[in-house]
Amino acid sequence: MATNNGLVYLIALPLFGALALLLLGRKADKWGHLLATAMSAGSFAVGLIQLSQMLDREAELRPVTQKLFTWISVGSFNVDASLLLDQLSICFVLLITGVGTLIHIYSISYMSHDKDRRRFFAYLNLFIAAMLLLVLGDSYLNLYVGWEGVGLASYLLIGFWNQKPAYATASKKAFVMNRIGDMGLSFAIMIAFATLGTVSFSGVKEHSHHASEAAMTAIGVMLLVAAVGKSAQFPLQAWLGDAMAGPTPVSALIHAATMVTAGVYLIVRSNFVFDAAPTAQLLVVIVGAITLLFGAIIGMAKDDIKKALAASTMSQIGYMILASGLGPAGYAFAIMHLLTHGFFKAGMFLGAGSVMHGMNDEVNMRKYGGLRKFMPITFVTFGLGYLAIIGVPPFAGFYSKDMIIETALNAGGAKGIILGSVTLLGAAITAFYMTRVMILTFTSPKRWDDNQHPHESPALMWIPMVILSIGSVISGYLLYRGKAFKHWLEPLFEEHGEHTELLPPIVVSGLALTMVAIGVAIAVIKYQLSEIDNVAPEKVSIFTRIARRDLLQDDVNEALFMRPGQAITSALVKIDDSVVDGAVRGVGKMALGSGSALRETQTGFVRSYAVLILIGAAALIAAIWVVTT
């Protein structure tokens, strides 16, 4: 594989930005955001150069690597710090740096009133660097560094306003739940090393053909655990909703466009593992399907605009995971949906941020309404994103989601039918709750107090929104056209035969659009054509209540892990003090006690000692008497 010494700059630039801003401290307050944005943009530029170079090469020669140094080398465990840029990672590089740069620009204005803006930009740059390391690492261990690095950046950014205890808790929750996923990645690496003797992508790929299926399944399942944690999939999804505590640009960048999709990247990157482990692949599909519906259902019940979008993110990633579990047929569509989703979801989050910006940081959609007139740009950009996500042609989401539904239906047998139905149902629910968001925010009558003065955001904020909305309009078609994207990624995957088509594509599209129409129609009837309270109605069905409680995810986690964990902790603290240390102190006390007990025999009276001597002498004589008998 060709080497390219330019790869390191992709990471080095934002890393430098982060370090400079953090180390310089207040000195960099004035220009810190500019430096960070420049670094991010610079990285994007490097990415573009790399892309153009890559386009010039033959498909087989496109991947390039760069070895930086030997990182860990012990016995047969050799891991180099080296980077790999291939067709898959370049997509991510451009998404991360591109969307990242836009969000940097957006944040300059969005965070302009925060006195810690420099720190915010430092974290953003740190995130960009870590995320790039994640997608550029050429081995699972290198990926792991980025994997936890983005976790750290996410922790820092969710808790950016950590003076509020709830936000600090949310950040901690995110990190810890991510760590559970990271543990899965650790396991995967360990299993890979123990069974295959290597942890690099190429090494594992090489061995994947003749390794036992059991080993591959184990690795696959563990990778899935990792992906589940990072991508907020069932059952480790609970952190994403709380993660909305972070500033909105963070939600757009990390918790919508990039970091949460790392799980999809991991699964697609590990396609060789999953291809060799059908059981793991099946699990992937199941997880994706469950999360798809799970997120969608939560999305229907949320009144907090960011949480509704977060639930939608979860659901959309469910689509991607599901697609990536469908094998070579689905990988490309998973990534394609990931990219389009990156555009429209980031755009919508920025839109939500813009709405909040204009509404004094109000997030409850029931207190919005009629904002269309006050924030036309936001409305249009958000609306384009909305059309994209519900899958209206020719917007981006239509192509990518349609492909996934089609592939799911074509998965064959009962599996295909079930998955197809799930994805179709998901499309309908998506249409419903996204329409609900649109209506509640923009088109319904106003429900806000008169002391609110909604206004359009400054240009620095709406320009990125416009760019992203353009992306949400055209990206789908661009990628779909002539199966361009599928061919682009094809060299990375191994095609397994032809698939049977359950239904012709046009029928599938028709079905999907029908479902979307049903969803939209219900939402319109329910919200546009009827009165909406500005507080959430209390008298609702049990299902709604459960859905509002995020389908009890926190309750389950608390009951299953948190409470027992706390119980174990407090029990162990007590045990350590009373039993373990108690035993130690007991030995000491015993020594003291036996000392004072024995001291009682020392009465101080000479005569009692004399009696003892006498008894001793008598005993001695008795012993002689007995012995000589």
């Binding site: 009465t603 009276f605 005569r607 009692s608 009696v611 006498l614 008894i615 002498a617 008598a618 004589i621 008795a622 002689i624 008497w625 000589t628």
Partner: protein, 259 residues
């Protein structure tokens, strides 16, 4: 085989006469209240033993026993008894609970076992007697041993003796921590003490009493006896005579104040 040693009748008689006496004396030593009596009984036991030594051919030891023990050691005892003598009689009631029965049981066990052990034990040969060993004379024989075979223990023991003598002197020596009060200081102190009662010194015994003797407490002006007028030694011995018997029948103790 002819036994090497035959015990002559006089010795048997002597033994059976003296042995019970010595046992009785030692038992008495245990039981009498006054230490002086114990000392005298012990002296008797020692003399008995000295006689036994001589009877057994240990002439030198017998003499030494009399001189050193009955003479020196017992004198020392008596001397100390005099010094400490004020409470030289002690009660025989036991103060440490359960000590006496345990002690007696242990002692009876010890003695019984010892005696029965001695009764069972045999030397495996007949007693030899000291006629041969005492050939050149008992003192000469002992001297020969002491200055040859036992010369080293002998030297050590002499060192021990000297050390003990020095030790006793050191122990008995009383280092004053303050200068001895002079007579002047003592009288000053008497006058400056809390009351002037003792300023003139303690009253002498028998003064103002009909019976003018040291064992009779003096009577105070109000007719009550003054215990402080009797020597502490006499009081401890219980040799104080009640002064009430010498008291005048009717003493007019009323005092008319003179103008």
């Amino acid at each position: 085989m002819e036994p090497l040693l035959t015990i002559q009748t006089p010795e048997t008689v002597l033994f059976w006469f003296l042995a019970p006496l010595s046992v009785l004396a030692s038992l008495g030593m245990l039981l009498v209240k006054k230490a002086v009596h114990s000392a005298l009984l012990l002296a008797w036991v020692m003399v008995t033993l000295a006689i036994f030594y001589i009877a057994q051919g240990a002439l030198f030891l017998g003499i030494v026993q009399v001189v050193v023990y009955t003479g020196a050691v017992m004198m020392l005892f008596l001397f100390i008894l005099m010094l400490v003598g004020v409470d030289s009689s002690d009660s025989l009631t036991e103060t440490i609970t359960g000590l006496r029965p345990i002690a007696i049981t242990a002692a009876v066990g010890f003695g019984g076992l010892m005696v029965s052990l001695l009764g069972r034990a045999t030397l495996g040969r007949e007693p030899v007697g000291l006629d041969a060993a005492n050939g050149p004379g008992n003192v000469q024989g002992l001297a020969a041993l002491l200055f040859s075979k036992y010369v080293w223990p002998f030297e050590v023991i002499s060192a021990l003796l000297i050390t003990a003598a020095v030790g006793a002197m050191v122990l008995a020596h009383h280092q004053r921590t303050t200068p001895r009060p002079t007579q002047r200081e003592q009288s000053v102190n008497r006058f400056r003490s809390d009351s002037l009662a003792g300023a003139a010194g303690l009253p002498g015994p028998g003064v103002f009493a009909r019976h003018n003797a040291v064992d009779v407490p003096a009577l105070l002006p109000d007719g009550t006896p003054a215990p402080s007028s009797i020597s502490a030694t006499l009081k401890a011995r219980g040799d104080v005579i009640d002064s009430a018997q010498f008291q005048l029948d009717n003493v007019d103790t009323s005092v008319v104040e003179e103008k």
